[in-house]
Amino acid sequence: MADARVRHGPQGGRPEGLEGFVSDWGSDQRTFKKVSWGKAMMWIFLLSDTFVFSIFLVSYMSARSSTVDAWPNASEVFALHIGGADLPLILIAIMTFVLISSSGTMAMAVNCAYRKQRRNTALLMIATAALGATFVGMQAFEWSKLISEGVRPWGNPWGAAQFGASFFMITGFHGTHVSIGVIFLLIVAARVWKGDFDSGRRSWLCREKGDYEAVEIMGLYWHFVDLVWVFIFAFFYLW
């Protein structure tokens, strides 16, 4: 009895946990409580994008495990000669740290946005975009280095021909995601800087005065890009 009163009492508390899951989905009502449609749609888009990248990685796995030729050793392919020593995978490691840092600054931007710190939010988003652009730049360097060494989608000097196709497809798609993210970060950052979210004017990014949710939704996309890189780094570069 006490339990029922607590859950349906005047406080308006909802059941938590599994019971909450069932009740949220189980009747004619809005399923995602306290999640705006924009955020829910971003999550669903990210779910579909998860499948896109999953399929790329599974196809890479199939190509790699069905080829009779030796797979090129990523540790050597992506090594750089710095200061008289060959450092394995060093560029990829730096790219990983750059992308993680950009995720960190993005998380800070979202935090500042909910505190309504307009300038800090915009500056942190611009920092995120700068780190993202750095990442894309390093990827362009990596691509041109590999292309100059003779890697093509149909062959390479070191082994299994499928290496190039997998590499260009996976990192190319990821790099495209990063580039689009950088553009959108700059667009949202510019609007935050101009004070569009505090003006009270409605726009497609802002429903009311002080509605900074667009920054969090942008953040979801950006963290997803970082998330995908975690998997690419593990399976393509380290495996």
Partner: protein
């Protein structure tokens, strides 16, 4: 736990769930940021010290899953979302594991066919 303390704790969580948006201490983000750096350094070290075999693969997977978990749970705020959203987003990708299993069998078959009909490399 007395009835009133149950009600108090429930009121607190109800109040928290009414709050729109996600407001968390900056300290937590900094901690996760540092952890992600450490885990990335760990997975880079796996390659640098040239671990091989089962140890290499298990460490790669463990570091990968920890990093992915931290990003989704804290940076993407999934830890504070209701289960209705978390399950809707996190469960469907499990189907990928089924696909992975199917394609593992399929690529084994392809490899055997290639070795049978085109000979060893």
């Amino acid at each position: 736990m007395t009835e009133s303390s149950i009600r108090n704790s429930n009121m607190a969580s109800a109040a928290a769930s009414h709050e729109e948006g996600q407001q968390h201490p900056i300290k937590l983000y900094l901690l996760v940021w540092v952890l992600l750096f450490v885990l990335s350094a760990g997975s880079y070290m796996v390659d640098y010290v040239e671990l091989q075999g089962l140890l290499r693969w298990s460490l790669i997977i463990i570091f990968m899953l920890l990093k992915a978990g931290l990003i989704v749970a804290v940076f993407m705020h999934m830890a504070w979302e209701r289960l209705a959203l978390a399950y809707a987003i996190l469960l469907p990708p499990v189907a990928v594991l089924v696909f992975l299993a199917i394609m593992t069998a399929e690529s084994d078959y392809t490899l055997i066919s290639r070795l049978t009909f085109f000979g060893t490399p």
